[in-house]
Symmetry: C2
Subunit: 203 residues, 2 copies
């Protein structure tokens, strides 16, 4: 055995931790040492939470968000939600919009966006079910909340196109300078969007 | 149930991950989402590595470093190691010195240092066993490699004092400016140490 390594069970833990996103070898080492010294219950709780989440979390049958039941907590409340539907790329985007506290409607998670480079075309996104769901729920406005990357924009345009026959309101989240930012820190494209998307304030 | 939270098993995983050092709520969220989408085998491997490390790793009976046997991999090789002993504060310090590739002796881990503020006195460190071990192994040089914090320095001084009756060579790792650093980036105390610890180069 190589003496310039931790004992095998510890090295294995470090290696597994280092496979997580944003965790480099140094962080993995620090986390592993922490787990070795933490109360046994804490390490067990983390390992069990990991297995339970991996086992128990699936996708909502209605909106494809995370769910530990057939439908997610948001769709389960749909009777008290507004007749709006926010279309996002990824499940974490749902949480981001929920945290704003400004939106009380439903969601629809595409789990991706149109990306020719990744070979993701319209047939790879659950768009037919989106149309069906908008009709079934009597949605009055669809808010396209995909990202403002090239792929996010293309996806928003495409979804707008396929929803247009439904004759409902379709909107796109605003682009502009981030709150708390200065103009000097904004790139030219963002600033151009912020200018053209300007809103009257004297009313 | 609060709709502004992830489904409970996922939220539990995020909360447990966020208890790890250097992991904020955002990183915990990213890691949890990654674990949900990763192959089931990977999540299981991580959970099992965690439990196995927590169960299977103890402290070396000789040097108190991590060990999955009675003695650690380094002490197991002591017949081919040099008669030096490097005294460090924490087990990760052993790995740091090993990685330099410049040291072929043994180690001794104090699992702490003298720190009046944390109520850690000499009786809380395994110092009697250190003396015994130095004698038993016929150690010829003890290298004090505690940190250069006030506590690390106090610990080094104290250990030097209790080892002095053994009449062996005792040394302290050098303090100075880090490799690749400029003088402008060094604090005054470090630079003072670097000056007083200067070494002749014209020989």
């Amino acid at each position: 055995m190589n003496s310039r390594a931790y004992p095998p069970p510890l090295q294995r833990l470090i290696d597994e931790l280092a496979r997580l996103p944003t965790i480099g070898p140094r962080s993995a080492e620090r986390m592993a040492l922490f787990l070795l010294n933490a109360p046994k219950e804490q390490t067990q709780a983390l390992a069990q939470a990991m297995l339970a989440a991996r086992q128990g979390i699936g996708r909502c049958a209605e909106c494809h968000y995370f769910a530990d039941q057939a439908v997610c907590p948001i769709c389960a409340q749909k009777s008290v939600r507004q007749k709006q539907m926010c279309v996002v790329e990824y499940p974490q985007d749902v949480m981001a919009v929920e945290y704003t506290g400004k939106y009380k409607g439903l969601y629809y998670v595409l789990w991706g966006c149109l990306s020719p480079l990744d070979n993701t075309g319209p047939q790879d996104l659950p768009l037919r079910q989106l149309i069906e769901r908008v009709q079934r729920e009597g949605i009055e406005e669809v808010i396209l909340a995909t990202g403002s990357s090239r792929e996010g924009e293309a996806t928003a345009l495409y979804v707008r196109q396929i929803l247009q026959p439904l004759k409902i309101k379709i909107s796109r989240i605003a682009r502009g300078i981030p709150v708390g930012s200065t103009l000097g820190h904004s790139d030219r494209a963002t600033l151009a969007e912020a200018m053209s998307g300007r809103q009257a304030i004297d009313r």
